[in-house]
Every structure is written in C-alpha cells, then in structure tokens.
C-alpha cells in the first residue's frame, strides 16, 4: 500500500524544488501543497518546528529540506546503489546547498552595494554605446532604464563615469 505524501512549502522553488523534482523524476504522486507569505503567518504555529518545508508521510511529519529530499531519494531508488554512492551523491547535494545559501543571501541583501554583481555591471556596460547614440533608447523599457540609473548612480561608479573620457565605443 503506497504511503500518502504531502509536501508543504511556499509557492517558490527555493528550498522546496529539489523535493518536488524527486517526486516527479520518480513518477510518485504527492500533494504539492503551496502557501503564500500571507498564509505563512497563520500556518507557522501549526508546523511541528515552526518551519517549512515539511513532508507528511501518512500523517507523520519530517522537517529540514535536505533530510526530506534524501529520504525520498532513498525511498524511490534515486540515492545511489550503496552507502558509498549515497555519500558521493550527498556531497554534491551539499555543494549545491552551499550555492543556494549564497543565492538566498544575495536575494535578501538590502544593501545595494553588497548586492551588486558583475551581472549588473555587464548590463550597464552593454547599453553604454546604444545610449550614447540614442539617448531615449531605453524609454520604452522602464525597468531596465531604472536599473541603469540605479547602478550608474552608485558612488564609486558615478564618480568614475563623471570623469572618464567620452568615446564613440
């Protein structure tokens, strides 16, 4: 008799998507229960440890996204053929989690200067030439234009832009 699975998490990928992938990859049915940030406030006290995600297996609860994903992977034969293989699989999962932690930190970073990445600078850079020739080029792309203005006004960059020689390219 197949156990009934219910996975409870925000309506985001974040720390829930790996588990959802495991269910789908194994073609196992589960209730993909998603809640909003507003609903979280009333849901939180009902969760066993006040955390999400939570997995319910025939009503028994399990918290911690890594433990959940690994449990299901083992149940569904996606965890490696023996304990050593499990270790091999596991170490890459940990590496991915480390990267996710960094992405989450970036996502929630409020300090603009800390949040800045080379991606922002690359976007600033590629539009420099079109804007030089067609200053109203970005008017029909308000979000991009706002991003450009925000990055270009960061102190270090603004000072440099003010002083540099103007060139065609």
């Amino acid at each position: 008799m197949m156990p009934s699975y219910k996975f409870v998490y925000f309506d985001l990928r974040a720390r829930g998507e790996l588990t959802r992938y495991v269910f789908h990859a194994a073609s196992k049915e589960f209730e993909d229960s998603r809640f909003s940030f507003e609903e979280w406030n009333s849901l939180k006290p009902t969760m066993p440890f006040g955390q999400a995600p939570v997995l319910l297996v025939d009503g028994k609860t399990l918290a911690q996204s890594g433990a959940i994903a690994r449990f299901l992977a083992r149940e569904f034969g996606l965890a490696g053929k023996n304990s050593w293989e499990q270790g091999m699989v596991d170490q890459y999962m940990e590496l991915a989690t480390e990267m996710m932690d960094e992405i989450v930190k970036w996502y929630f970073e409020k300090d603009e200067e800390k949040k800045l990445t080379a991606a922002d600078l690359a976007v600033l850079d590629i539009f420099d030439t079109p804007m030089y020739y067609t200053p109203n080029f970005m008017d029909s792309f308000p979000k991009l234009k706002a991003h450009r203005e925000r990055i270009a006004s960061l102190e270090n960059l603004a000072n440099y832009i003010k002083k540099r020689n103007v060139t065609d390219l």
Partner: protein, 219 residues
C-alpha cells in the same frame, strides 16, 4: 590509534581536518562511539594547508574523509556516511530521516553561532550574542524538546533523540552546544532534559574517555 577495533575490518579510515573541533569533531565522535580505528589527521600548520594540502583536496576544503584512499568531502555527508556504516543512523529509512532532521537542525544552529564567532565589531557581536539568547537558543530548545518528548511518548523512554539508542542525532546535539556553553554556560539551566541528555553523552561508555581527554580547543 584510538581504542580497539570493534570488528575485523580492513577498511582504512583517515579523517583530515584542522586541529580544532569545528566541522571535524562530530566525525571524530562517530569513530569513538563505534569504537572504530581511524587516523585523526589534524592539520596544524597554516602553511602546510595553503601551500600543499588545499590544492589536493577535491573541493579545496576540509574536512575530508578517506576510506581506503577514496575521498569524500562535506562534513555532513561524512557524518551521515560514517553513521550509516556504523549503524548509528537509525534502523529504518524513516528513522534515518529523523536522525538527519536533527543533524540538519543542529547545523542551522551552528550557522547562527558562527555569526557571533566571525563578527569582529564588538557592538555587533554583543547584539548577535543577545539575539542568540533571546531568539535563537529558545527556538532550538523548543524544537529539540519537542523531539525528545515525542520519542519518549513512542514508548522508547530512552532519552535519545531517535529510537532507543545513541545515534548521530545525539552526537550532533552534544557537539553543537559545546561552543555555546563555553560562552554562555547557563543556557541549559532551565532545560533539564537537555542537561540530562548532555550528561548521558558525556558518560557514554564509548565516549566518556575521549570527551574527557580530547584536545582542548577554543572552537
């Protein structure tokens, strides 16, 4: 090396880590709890680490576990692997998940405490310490006590976190609170069950000697 070999195993284990407790101590506790021989390779020279060892490590970090020469990275992966090998990870897949639930929860606590350790600004450091006491520790006490009580109710009455015997879960709780208790010695005062649990680990017949005599390190 440390204690006698429990089973006639020819597996050669080597744990490579810095000469601190940090992310190496729970694996060390696992070896001792299981009475399995291993080489406790403590890297105490920064020069040796940066100039020769680091480049040879698969993810350029420690700890690394070597099992008959094959290398495994990631401290939690190492903990879980050894716990499975030594039968210290629960008896069923579900119990294993429950053990991992505790271990991952303790890793969350470790990350919070690490913020205090790495903060250099003394004002911010005090704020973090204050937050640990008022928000963070209570949150984790609540989770741990819930788990202990539920395990009690399931007629185990063992005083362990999962099932009726010592598992990786117990070792991770024990070790994760070692540093916090060293800076905040009173935090268990109102948490009798956690005090008793800590005592249970410290007096465990396989662990007592090691815990009493292990090298004293600040972290």
């Amino acid at each position: 090396m440390n204690g006698s070999v429990k089973e006639s195993s020819s597996t050669k284990y080597r744990l490579i880590y810095f000469d601190v407790r940090g992310r190496g101590e729970i694996p060390r506790l696992l070896f001792h709890a299981a009475k399995v021989d291993f080489t406790d390779d403590r890297v105490d020279s920064e020069e040796k680490w940066y100039n020769s060892l680091k480049a040879k490590m698969p993810q350029k970090v420690l700890p690394v576990l070597e099992v008959d020469g094959k290398q495994l990275s990631q401290s939690l992966t190492i903990c879980r692997y050894l716990a499975r090998e030594f039968g210290l990870c629960g008896k069923t897949n579900w119990e294993q998940a429950q053990v991992e639930q505790v271990v991952d929860t303790m890793d969350d606590l470790r990350a919070e405490v690490a913020k205090w350790i790495y903060e250099k600004d003394t004002v911010k450091k005090d704020e973090i310490a204050s937050n640990l006491r008022s928000e963070i520790y209570p949150k984790f006490f609540g989770i741990l006590e819930t788990i202990l009580r539920e395990n009690e109710e399931n007629n185990n009455r063992s005083g362990y976190f999962v099932g009726d015997h010592l598992t990786l879960a117990d070792l991770s709780v024990f070790e994760t609170f070692t540093f916090p208790l060293s800076i905040h010695p009173d935090i268990f005062d109102d948490h009798l069950e956690l005090q008793e649990h800590r005592q249970r680990i410290m007096t465990d017949k396989h662990l007592a000697e090691y815990i009493k005599n292990r090298p004293e390190r600040p972290v």
